[in-house]
Structures are given as structure tokens and as C-alpha cells.
């Protein structure tokens, strides 16, 4: 068990389970005996899931805040090519090196059961399930592959989590608020999906928390959104050799401000709500794709979901908003950003310009070119992101 953070369990709390699987010994490039169909499946070792899961766990420990549902536990499982300890910044294990368990099927199943048990402590608790690694979709069924996937040629899906069944089975959990963040491909090779489709349902994969008829532990409706990092039958990407996937990078930026919401008290009271998270992450990923040429993927929402508050930043903490500023000309210009008496001057560079501004109305943006021309724009910086085009005269 790798509980990197815990607090007394007698109150509603936020319980996080983060899993990152980058090493698959039985898939292509793995150190173990390859599965007999590994080459046909073509699934390889992954570089980004370990770092992605660690950073998600770190965000919750370092930055998560919700007075109504404070952080109560963070459990982390990571399968990486090099094992490294995790050092939490606070909690009973603060500043200690904590050895992290691998995300083998056995460990993942046990961790999910412990996570559910912690969530069974209070109806008002919130569960956060994060998985990064190989995944697959067969029809409407989703699967998450643990480190040991491919270890048994006679029972291929034995080392996979039947995620569709898990999500359904978590109806039996007392905590009514649960969010599932799935950073995994959904386009497994035909050689694998056809086998799963032929078997039907969970195809031998473990739902861990199996659904049962009539097992409603609460009269409150469950609010349990799923955010998939990519569309059905599409791949999820990360930078080659990088430490974090595009989805998790966008997720963390959304958690840190780009996905906050001030709908009830404009410019003043910010919260992060689950129902706008998919849109914000999608917008950030689209911006990354447009500005940096990263592979485009469209996150998708699922599950029966209304809306709950996941994060409440400290008062008077306006978020920082990514801004893309474009000009009709591509030669370098120096950019001046003015808000009231505050002026930021940036070094000359070419359009499009990528800025990050504190959420506020009434920014004036001026681009001054070497030939003396000035193009301008006015904009209000609000989540998720803004795009502005600078033009002569400075129209918004």
C-alpha cells in the first residue's frame, strides 16, 4: 500500500487514487516474457504515465483546497522504468521518502478496494480516480491495462480493469461524488478488441467493485463524471520522451486556474466545478495543438453527472489565463500588455504570442513592429482561454 497522504477519517474528505503505468513487461519492449500476441497488438512502453500520475498526486497534496471536503488521502501506484520514491510536502509522511508500489493487477485491485472503503466512510466525501497508461475501448466497454497485462496468454484480460463495470459498481459506494479521469488510448488494435468483443461484457477483466442490483447505499443521487482524455477509438498522446501527457498537462493547468469558474460572483469568488472541466481541458489541448503543433485529441465526457465543486482556491486568488494573440503579419513585434497602471513589456517575437494573464477585465494589448506600425486589441481574461487579434486601432 502506498498511501502518500492521509488525515483523520471522521469527516467528509477527498480521497484520491492515482495510477500511472509506463512499464509493461509483457508488451513490446518490455523486460518480461512477451505475450504471444504482443507484436500483433503493437502496444509499447510508455514514457508519460508515471510522471503524469505523480504530478496529479502532487497537485492534490500541494494545492488542493476544499473546506467542505478537504484532502483526506492520496494513494499512488506507479510502474516506471526506474523506481523513485515520492516525497509528500505535507501530511504524516511530510518530507519523507515514500516507496511507491508498482501498478500490477494485484496492487491495482487492492488499491481500488481500499479507495472504495475509505469513500464508504462518509456520504459527503469525494472520490478522485486517475489512471494513466494503456487503455482500450471495445464498443461501449472501457478497459484499463495494469503493468502485468499480457502475463497470461490463456486469459488475456485477466490483468486489465473492466472500467465500465467499475464505474457502474461504484454506485455501491457511500460517497456520492466521484470523478474518474482516464488518460489512456481508446483505440486498441483490432487483434485485441475483436477478442474482447467476442467474449462480450468485461471479457474476463476485473470490475473490482462489481455492480449489484438494488445496492444503493444512499438516497442521494450519485454524481460521477468520467473524463476520457480522448475520443472513442482514438489515441492519446504525449510529447516523445516527455514526462507528462498532453491531457494531464492540460488537466493540471485547468486545476491551477484555467478551468476555474466565477459564475456566482464574477471576478471575485473562484471555484473549480466538474461540469466545465472537460470543456476547459479540451480548449487548452486545442490551444496547444494550434500553437505548438502537438497532436490533437478531443477529451470526452461520460457518466451520469451533474456538477460538484472539486477545488476552492484561497480567497482573492484570481486564476491565470492562457491568452493567444494573433496578428495578420508574422514579423517580430514587441508586445505591451496594460491593465490600469500595470504595464508588462515583452521582448520582440513573432505572432502568435502566447501569454498568461491574471483574470481581469479590460486588458489593452499593443504590438509594436519595427516599421513603426502598432496593432492593438482589448480583451477580458477569463477561463479557459482567450484569443485576441491585434488590429489597427485596437478593436476588441
Amino acid at each position: 500500500m502506498t498511501l502518500t497522504f492521509s488525515s483523520p477519517p471522521d469527516n467528509p474528505g477527498t480521497h484520491v487514487l492515482a495510477i500511472g503505468v509506463g512499464v509493461y513487461p509483457h508488451l513490446v519492449g518490455g523486460a518480461g516474457a512477451p505475450a504471444s500476441d504482443a507484436a500483433a497488438w503493437g502496444m509499447k512502453q510508455l514514457s508519460t504515465p508515471p510522471g503524469s500520475a505523480i504530478e496529479v498526486a502532487r497537485w492534490f497534496i500541494d494545492e488542493h483546497r476544499n473546506p467542505a471536503c478537504p484532502l483526506a488521502s492520496v494513494e499512488l501506484l506507479v510502474s516506471a522504468s526506474v523506481d523513485a520514491p515520492f516525497r509528500p510536502s505535507r501530511g504524516p509522511l511530510a518530507q519523507q521518502d515514500v516507496a511507491i508500489e508498482h501498478a500490477t493487477q494485484q496492487n491495482v485491485v487492492a488499491a481500488i478496494k481500499r479507495w472504495k472503503k475509505r469513500l464508504d466512510g462518509d456520504e459527503q466525501s469525494t472520490g478522485v480516480f486517475y489512471f494513466a497508461g494503456h487503455g482500450m475501448q471495445s464498443g461501449l466497454s472501457s478497459f484499463l491495462l495494469s503493468e502485468t497485462f499480457g502475463s497470461d496468454d490463456d486469459a488475456t484480460m485477466k490483468d486489465a480493469i473492466y472500467f465500465t463495470g467499475l464505474h457502474l459498481g461504484m454506485e455501491r459506494c457511500l460517497a456520492r461524488r466521484q470523478i474518474f479521469l482516464i488518460d489512456a488510448c481508446r483505440n486498441a488494435p483490432q487483434a485485441l478488441t475483436s477478442r474482447v468483443a467476442a467474449a462480450g461484457g468485461g471479457a474476463g477483466a476485473d470490475p473490482v467493485i462489481e455492480p449489484r442490483v438494488g445496492a444503493h447505499p444512499s438516497t442521494l443521487p450519485r454524481d460521477a463524471p468520467i473524463i476520457y482524455s480522448t475520443a472513442s477509438e482514438a489515441a492519446a498522446f504525449g510529447p516523445a520522451g516527455g514526462l507528462m501527457s498532453y491531457f494531464t498537462s492540460a488537466l493540471l493547468r485547468a486545476l491551477r486556474g484555467a478551468g476555474w469558474d466565477d459564475g456566482d460572483d464574477p471576478w471575485n469568488t473562484w471555484v473549480l466545478r466538474t461540469d466545465s472541466l472537460t470543456r476547459h481541458i479540451g480548449n487548452l489541448m486545442q490551444l496547444d495543438s494550434e500553437l505548438h503543433g502537438s497532436s490533437f485529441q478531443a477529451p470526452r465526457a461520460g457518466g451520469d453527472a451533474q456538477s460538484f465543486i472539486l477545488h476552492v482556491p484561497p480567497p482573492a486568488t484570481p486564476p491565470r489565463i492562457p491568452i493567444a494573440v494573433q496578428a495578420a503579419r508574422s514579423d517580430p513585434a514587441s508586445l505591451k500588455v496594460t491593465l490600469g497602471a500595470s504595464v508588462q513589456q515583452m521582448q520582440p517575437s513573432s505572432s502568435p504570442w502566447e501569454l498568461e494573464l491574471e483574470a481581469a477585465p479590460g486588458y489593452q494589448i499593443d504590438a509594436d513592429f519595427a516599421d513603426g506600425a502598432r496593432l492593438s486589441a482589448r480583451l477580458s481574461a477569463r477561463p479557459t482561454l482567450r484569443k485576441a487579434t491585434v488590429v489597427p486601432g485596437g478593436a476588441t
Binding site: 462480450g200 477509438e233 464574477p266 470543456r279 490533437f296 470526452r300 477580458s380
Partner: protein, 398 residues
């Protein structure tokens, strides 16, 4: 004594979400955000092309309309006391008028970009490529070729059904508009499918959400694909389109901003089940998704009873019972409904396939499931295994 009236602090804001074409769409989420702290934001549910008037405190406002497609139209506006200010939020012009509705509810560019990474991309190059693989198939297995882009397709057997396939392409997308003829004597006892067989790839069946009545007329459906494997299917219904599209896109925040309005709208759609049972089922799925179980009333029971050929009615009623009643009391009724649904064709909505399989899985987990549950579960799992998760309407690989 002279009474001095206080100076007015409020003004009137006229706002309009405008399209260059005559297109109707209700349920657009609009935020009116003051540009200084201390004033309240307002969240509205407006219709494209219609004026909306509201009273606000004087000040500067940012007004944003969030479309189901994900696009945002915005404007800033100054409101002065005791006067009226206008704010026009212009929508971007689509390349063709026939895309005016589509661009409000779908974002084909996203699918198009995604398609570059599909393992087996299919990009029809000319309308002829598309037509070659199209057919209309009945639940009884009869198929009618769709020989060209402007032909009526007359099914054999003289049952009087016909569908006009209107194909069009531009540089980004291909589209097929299905316009059921107004004289179409639909009897609710048979489902219609659209089969698409891309070159060098397996064929797929789309369960057509027909008949979709709009103001007592049959509404056109648009099947839009941009090279990805799963096309968007758009019902050109201004009252229901936005509700379904917000939920399809995952922007439930937009739905929540006007949750009451959307839930009321969905409730009304469900109430009007006699006018349009297919739309009523969609409204009921929206209510389930929003957790508004009370607004289902016993109308889904009526939907199940009156339209037995629409499996969604039975699935919705069974789901309602499972979520609101003790399992022991309703197990028999739920089993009957779900077995009937599993044997009665394909649900029109993918959500129906998901709920059918998951509910039957629940029944199968019971200590003593009814004997027919196993066969029904097998059929549902087969549908589940071949359905596409990202399509609102059931789209099955063959």
C-alpha cells in the same frame, strides 16, 4: 415636503445572438458578466435570432454565448441608467446555408483534425465515393441502394417509405441530409437504418431517429462526416437540438447554467411524447443525465406502453424503476421491460444501449435472476460490443 426619487441605477439590455442565415435554435447558454466586481452575473437561455431583454445594473458587461458546438460568440456593452443598450453577438458564417444549423451544434473541424490520427482513416474524395457505399436497410434486412445524390429511394414491398439522400461536400466535410417525405405513413412498427460502407473498411449501421416530428412535420436529419470513422448525426430541431448537443459535447456546465430551463424543456419534450416519441426518449435521457428523476413522472411508462417498437421506452422505464424503487418490488417488471427491449430491435440512442446492458448486468448479478435474463444480456452485450461510444444515436459496426 418634497419627495425626491432616487436616481435610477439600472438600465435595459437588449441582446441578440445573430446568424447570417435564417436559422432557429433554442437553448443557447448566455453569460452576462459585469466587468467590475460587486455586480451579479446573469445566466440566460436564449434563442438564435430572437431578441432578449433584461434589466441590469448600469456598468460595462462582457456578454458571451456558448454554442453547443463549443464556439463562443462575445461582445462587450456599456449599460447606462434608465436607457437601453444593444448587444449583438454575431455567429460566424458557415460556408453554405445548408450548414447553418450544423455549425451551431457540431464542430466538424475537431473531428476532422482527430481523423488524421485514426488508424484507418476514411476520406471520401468525391460525392460518388460516398454514394457508392450508401444504403437504407430495414430491420427486416431489406436494403435499398442509394444510387445517386438526388434520388428518392423507393423501398420494395409498397409500404410507401422513401428517403431523399442529398449529398454535398465542401473542402472539409461530406454530408448526407435525409429528408423523409411529408406523406410518409410511419407506423412505429419498424426501424430504419442507414448503412455506410466505406471503401476497404467494414460497414456500419446507424439507427435512424425517425420519424422525428417537428411542428407536425418530419424534420430532416443530417449525417455529417469529415473523414473520421464516426459521423455526427444532427436532428435539425431548434427546440431539442441544443439540449442534446450540450450533453453530447460534455459541456454540461452550459446545461447547468440553464439547468432549470433545459430540464423544463426536456420535461416538455417528454410530455409531448405523442407528437414525437423519439424526441421524448431523448428528453428522458437528458433528465436522467441531469438527475431530474421527478420530471420523468410516469410518462416514460407511457412511452414504454404506447410505443413497444421503440426499445428506448422500455429501457427508460426500467431505469427509472431501478433508480427510484426498492429492487425487490420492481425486479419482475424491470426484467420484463429489459428482456422486451433486448429482443425488440436496437435502441435509437447509444445511451439506451449502455443502460440496457448495464441494467441487465445488474439483474444478472442477482442471486436468482429470471432465466430469460441471460439471453437478453447476451444480446445487449453484443450491441454494446459493436456500438460507438461517441455517437449520440446508435451506430453499430457490422
Amino acid at each position: 415636503m418634497t419627495q425626491i426619487d432616487p436616481a435610477p441605477t439600472k438600465g435595459t439590455l437588449h441582446l441578440r445572438v445573430g446568424s447570417p442565415f435564417d436559422v432557429r435554435l433554442e437553448g443557447i447558454a448566455v453569460d452576462v458578466v459585469p466587468l467590475r466586481a460587486g455586480l451579479s452575473a446573469k445566466h440566460l437561455d436564449v434563442a438564435v435570432g430572437q431578441d432578449t431583454t433584461l434589466e441590469v445594473e448600469a456598468g460595462d458587461y462582457l456578454i458571451e454565448a456558448r454554442l453547443p458546438s463549443g464556439a463562443v460568440a462575445s461582445a462587450t456593452c456599456s449599460v447606462t441608467p434608465a436607457s437601453t443598450s444593444e448587444a449583438l453577438l454575431p455567429l460566424p458564417a458557415p460556408p453554405h446555408e445548408w450548414l447553418a444549423f450544423t455549425r451551431l451544434v457540431a464542430r466538424p473541424e475537431r473531428a476532422d483534425r482527430r481523423a488524421r490520427y485514426d488508424s484507418q482513416p476514411w476520406r471520401p474524395r468525391t460525392p460518388a465515393d460516398v454514394q457508392a457505399g450508401m444504403a437504407i436497410v430495414s430491420a427486416r434486412g431489406e436494403a435499398w441502394a442509394c444510387p445517386d445524390g438526388q434520388s428518392f429511394v423507393e423501398p420494395p414491398g409498397g409500404r410507401g417509405r422513401r428517403v431523399l439522400c442529398d449529398l454535398g461536400t465542401d473542402e472539409r466535410l461530406s454530408s448526407c441530409i435525409l429528408r423523409p417525405d411529408a406523406g410518409w405513413p410511419y407506423t412505429y412498427d419498424e426501424q430504419l437504418f442507414l448503412r455506410i460502407t466505406p471503401p476497404c473498411s467494414q460497414s456500419s449501421l446507424l439507427v435512424l431517429p425517425v420519424p422525428w416530428f417537428l411542428d407536425a412535420q418530419l424534420a430532416p436529419l443530417q449525417v455529417l462526416w469529415t473523414g473520421g470513422r464516426i459521423p455526427a448525426v444532427i436532428v435539425q430541431d431548434p427546440g431539442v437540438g441544443a439540449v442534446l448537443a450540450y450533453l453530447d459535447s460534455g459541456d454540461t456546465a452550459a446545461a447547468r447554467r440553464s439547468a432549470d430551463a433545459i430540464a423544463d424543456k426536456a420535461e416538455r419534450i417528454l410530455f409531448d411524447k405523442v407528437k414525437n416519441p423519439v424526441a421524448a426518449a431523448g428528453g428522458a435521457y437528458v433528465l436522467l443525465r441531469l438527475g431530474q428523476l421527478a420530471k420523468l413522472h410516469d410518462w416514460v411508462g407511457n412511452l414504454a406502453a404506447w410505443y413497444p417498437a421503440l426499445p428506448d421506452g422500455a429501457i427508460l422505464r426500467a431505469t427509472q424503476l431501478l433508480r427510484t424503487s426498492p429492487a425487490a418490488e420492481v425486479k419482475e417488471e424491470v426484467t420484463r421491460l429489459l428482456v422486451r427491449a433486448a429482443q425488440g430491435g436496437y435502441p435509437v440512442y447509444t445511451e439506451g444501449v449502455r443502460l440496457l446492458a448495464s441494467s441487465l448486468r445488474l439483474l444478472a448479478s442477482d442471486d436468482a435472476p429470471a432465466p430469460q435474463v441471460a439471453d437478453a444480456l447476451k444480446a445487449a452485450q453484443s450491441m454494446e460490443a459493436h456500438a460507438s461510444a461517441d455517437s449520440m444515436f446508435t451506430w453499430l459496426d457490422e
